[in-house]
């Protein structure tokens, strides 16, 4: 009876992850896109096989107990033979298995996921976590962006992480393990992608009301395209092209916007919210909470608390005309 339930559980354990291997979004531990993550994923499959064998033998023993429950003639004393079996299965075999796992995981795999030594990589990205968005800076350039970290394909990047407020944790499952960003500390991790693509990640240390909407996207691009992107991001904001957009800029500078946001090349130098110099070049808004379209941008500015309750951005009670102009201006910041 107990054996039957166990077999169901075993079936689940074996089949479940296999069914998973084919689906999922782009935040999937089982779809590695870098050497470190491949080592971790490989470690997982090996441990799953080991765990399957261990679990299977326990369920088998339980089943044996059930199947032989009616056999006659037993004393009420445990024999010394079984004590030997307990030592064999409970001490000897686990010790061997654990030592092997320890050497494999905690020496070899750990080495391949180690953080780079400072200066050991050709490129560095600084990530500063905020409640609830990610700021990314590219040392050596003026580029500052948010929630969308571009890297060149095949180039190891030293990600240097800090936090502006509470503890956050940077994790992009398809690229590497995670690293906590803790006040007073600078933590580093190796970021590398061996094929172009968008890799989603999410804050994985509980950080308050909008912990759920603190996602990040790593965009791996061929080197040439990455260089072009970085050149553009490093430039000051382009001047508004239409009259409407110019009115939008005035709204931005006159209203509270500029107190919190920076638009390089304008007097707006706030440092509470994300840098908006090239906001229109980003695919999403509010740390991947909504897509970056004019309609969504308008909804976001009109009432941020409806989109992301608790976010630090207040609703400004702008008129319809002001809102239209502001959206036109921001949408031009490519």
């Amino acid at each position: 009876m107990s054996g039957r339930g166990s077999r169901v559980a075993l079936g689940l354990l074996a089949v479940g992850p296999l069914a998973v291997a084919g689906c999922g979004g782009n935040q999937d531990v089982l779809h590695p896109a870098s050497d470190p993550q491949r080592a971790i994923t490989h470690l997982w499959w090996i441990m799953l096989i080991g765990a399957g064998i261990g679990f299977g033998s326990v369920v088998l023993l339980l089943f044996l107990g059930w199947a032989r429950r009616n056999r006659p003639g037993l004393s009420k004393t445990g024999g010394s033979r079984e004590t030997g079996l307990v030592v064999l299965f409970g001490v000897a075999i686990p010790v061997v298995v654990l030592v092997l796992l320890f050497v494999y995981a905690d020496v070899f795999v750990m080495r391949s996921t180690a953080a780079p030594r400072p200066g050991a990589t050709a490129m560095t990205v600084r990530v500063i976590a905020h409640q609830w968005f990610w700021e990314a800076r590219y040392p050596g350039t003026d580029a500052v962006t948010a929630n969308e970290i571009h890297i060149p394909v095949g180039v190891p990047v030293d990600l240097v992480g800090t936090t502006d407020d509470v503890i956050h944790s940077f994790w992009v499952p398809e690229l590497n393990r995670k690293i906590d960003l803790i006040p007073g500390r600078t933590n580093r991790i190796l970021l590398e992608a061996d094929r172009p693509g968008r890799y989603r990640g999410q804050c994985s240390e509980f950080c308050g009301l909008q912990h759920a909407h603190m996602a990040v996207e790593v965009v791996a691009q061929p080197k040439a395209r990455f260089r072009a992107w970085l050149r553009n991001q490093a430039r000051a904001a382009r001047a508004p092209a239409t009259a409407l957009a110019r009115r939008g800029r005035s709204v931005f500078l006159a209203q509270a916007c500029s107190g919190c946001h920076t638009i390089r090349g304008t007097p707006a130098q706030g440092s509470v919210g994300p840098d908006l110099t090239h906001v229109a070049s980003r695919r999403t808004l509010a740390a991947l909470a909504i897509p970056n379209t004019p309609a969504e941008l308008r909804r976001w500015i009109a009432d941020p608390q409806a989109v992301k309750p608790g976010a630090k951005m207040p609703g400004l009670r702008l008129s319809g005309a002001q809102l239209r102009a502001l959206v036109a201006y921001l949408d031009g910041l490519r």
Binding site: G25, V29, W44, V58, L61, L62, G65, G90, K178, L209
Partner: protein, 634 residues
């Protein structure tokens, strides 16, 4: 059976009934020092908190059933999620295992008439009740703890959490810890000193070994938590800088102190479950535990090594490699005592003639979940895997297999197993087995898919998630599972509630159990044992000759202790009869002291330092009253 002087035995038990009689009615319960009554108070109180924690769990699962759920707002989700953890750990599992099961069973299993400090035992209960009400009063007043059950700073500092929420948490846990500390001291003394003559350490029931290990763990694990919460309150209320980088503090200090408590805590939660398993298995396999001394040592070792693994909760914080390696090695080492126990249980079952009644079924389910959760636990000792999957739903799956599958299943089995002892009636076996299967399927369906969504990148403590990440189907399955699980638990509750009134009468020993609680009538009389039992093996109830000798001694008046409110004490290792202890009587003072302490905490929370000081003075006066009331002479 030998001829017994029935009249002599009757006279003595009548006298014991008079000496140990409870006060009638509600007063009797409010002033009780009887470990069985205190155990029952604990049982019903923890069950109430279990219902609260369960409702919170269902709210969480309903919110997460589909993407972009709107059942809970982000702020209420955070409070519900935090209170679910705080409730299940501090207000359900610990007080249920030690307070309810430990209190009721330890004296009965070791042949004592009460706990070593009966009034302190009552105090533990009242403090526990008050601390639970304190935490829930905070929740209902809109200031429920909301920074997760491990309450990391700086998120929990005033700057980011300005309300009283975190003060409720910190003061509530200090308050709750007082109760657990008192209980732990009581268990250690009881187990060391009140064992029946002849019950040397190597003959002590394994359940008592587990409670002993848990009590020592609590005693050493709670001070770091208490100190941490004191630091937090000093920083929040008076402006100290323990966790404040700008003034030389460090937020990691909180994590270290928290997990020095928090990991031993895991073993505090599961060890009593191990103890219940080692009680149920020999009874239903009808044989002694295989490798009894190894299992006893393993129980103590788990508790000890459990103190050396805490930093594996911090593998992603950027610790040095040498620290990582040390704690990973220790985390692998702690596996060994657990594998010893697992195989001792398994070989006891396979080599016996197991009777798969409901209690043993629950132990079977326990072994399945414990092994599955243990194996995923080993994975977290592989540092890079831990660093990838920590703080995801994979870890949520892992620890729910342990805390629900491994810790609560034996409790459920234990509820059935000792139900006839406590109530004198049998539960309904058919419905009990059905309830097992519903609970088992519900548990597997709720927590197994969490492994998968964790691997798919779902982080824990998110109040919602978007579509398109491949998580929706698994989350829906988990929610369905949670309701199946709730149905299973309701079946158990209904079975026990109905059986309490309509069940078949049960005799003293319906399952042929081996330990001493099965030698006394069901339900046990207030004095537990009419005659002090003399023990010669770990399974005294299977030593028929010894028990017949006990009956003869009762008739003869040999070691009956019917002259006063008395219990024997014995030497720590060999359990030679040491002296006869006069036990304190019922008393209203524990309740009074707990009420004064509660007043202190309420005043600290509401920032009335002066009134809090006055209440502390009141507590001191109540303690004087407690000690001035001498044990009543009979």
């Amino acid at each position: 059976m030998t001829v017994v002087d029935v009249a002599g035995a009757r006279t003595r038990t009548d006298r014991l009934e008079r000496i140990w009689a409870h006060r009638p009615g509600v007063t009797g319960w409010l002033t009780t020092t009887d470990h069985k009554r205190i155990g029952l108070l604990y049982l019903f109180t923890t069950l109430a908190f279990f219902v609260a924690g369960g409702v919170e769990a269902l709210l969480i699962r309903t919110q997460l059933a589909a993407p972009n759920g709107t059942v809970l707002s982000p702020s209420s989700y955070n409070a519900v999620m935090t209170m679910h953890g705080v409730t299940m750990i501090f207000l359900f599992v610990i007080p249920m295992t030690t307070g309810a099961f430990g209190n009721y069973l330890v004296p009965l299993m070791i042949g004592a008439r009460d706990m070593a400090f009966p009034r302190m035992n009552a105090l533990s209960y009242w403090l526990f009740l008050a601390s639970g009400c304190f935490l829930y009063a905070g929740l209902f007043a809109g200031s429920g703890p909301n920074a997760g059950w491990f309450d990391y700073v700086p998120l929990a500092l005033r700057q980011y959490d300005p309300g009283a929420n975190i003060d409720v948490y910190a003061l509530g846990l200090i308050f709750n810890g007082m109760s657990s500390t008192a209980a732990a001291i009581n268990f250690i003394t009881t187990i060391f000193k009140l064992r029946a003559p002849g019950m040397s350490m190597n003959r002590m029931p394994l359940f008592c070994f587990a409670i002993l290990a848990v009590s020592f763990s609590l005693l050493f694990a709670l001070p770091p938590l208490t100190i941490n919460c004191v630091f937090l309150e000093l920083q929040r209320q008076i402006g100290f800088h323990f966790f404040d980088v700008a003034h030389g503090g460090d937020p990691l200090l909180w994590q270290y102190l928290f997990w020095i408590f928090g990991h031993p805590e895991v073993y505090i939660i599961v060890l009593p479950a191990f103890g219940i398993a080692t009680s149920i298995i020999p009874t239903f396999a009808q044989r002694r535990m295989v490798a009894f001394p190894l299992v006893a040592i393993a129980e103590l070792l788990v508790a000890f090594i459990g103190f050396g693994v805490f930093a594996h909760h911090m593998f992603a914080t950027g610790l040095s490699t040498i620290t990582l390696i040390f704690f990973a090695a220790a985390s692998m080492l702690v596996v060994i005592p657990s594998t010893i126990q697992v195989f001792a249980w398994l070989f006891t079952v396979t080599g016996g003639r197991p009777d798969f009644k409901a209690p043993l079924l629950f132990i079977g389910g326990f072994i399945v979940f414990f092994v599955a959760g243990g194996l995923s636990g080993i994975m977290f000792a592989a540092i890079p895997f831990d660093q990838a999957l920590t703080d995801t739903y994979f870890v949520v799956a892992h620890f729910h297999f342990i805390i629900f599958g491994a810790a609560v299943f034996p409790l459920l089995g234990g509820l059935y197993y000792w139900f006839p002892k406590v109530t004198g009636r049998m539960y309904h076996e058919g419905w009990a087995q059905a309830s097992f299967w519903v609970t088992f399927v519900g548990t597997a369906l709720t927590f197994f898919p969490m492994h998968i969504v964790g691997l798919l990148g779902m982080t824990r403590r998110v109040y919602t998630y978007g579509p398109g990440l491949g998580w929706s189907g698994y989350n829906l399955a988990e929610t369905v599972g949670a309701f199946v699980l709730a149905a299973g638990l309701l079946l158990i509750a209904a079975n026990l509630a109905l059986s309490r009134f309509r069940g078949e009468p049960a005799d003293a020993d319906p399952f042929f159990g081996g330990t001493l609680e099965w030698t006394v009538p069901s339900p046990p009389p207030p004095y537990n044992f009419a005659v002090v039992p003399l023990v010669t093996s770990p399974y005294p109830n299977w030593d028929r000759a010894d028990r017949e000798a006990d009956a003869l001694r009762l008739a003869r008046g040999d070691l009956v202790l019917d002259e006063g409110h008395e219990t024997p004490s014995s030497t720590v290792r060999d359990a030679r009869l040491d002296e006869i202890l006069e036990m304190p009587s019922d008393s209203p003072w524990p309740l009074a002291v707990a009420a004064c302490v509660a007043l202190v905490f309420v005043m600290l929370l509401t920032r009335h330092a002066v009134v809090a000081g006055l209440a502390a003075g009141l507590t001191a006066i109540a303690l004087c009253g407690w000690h001035l009331q001498e044990p009543e002479e009979t």
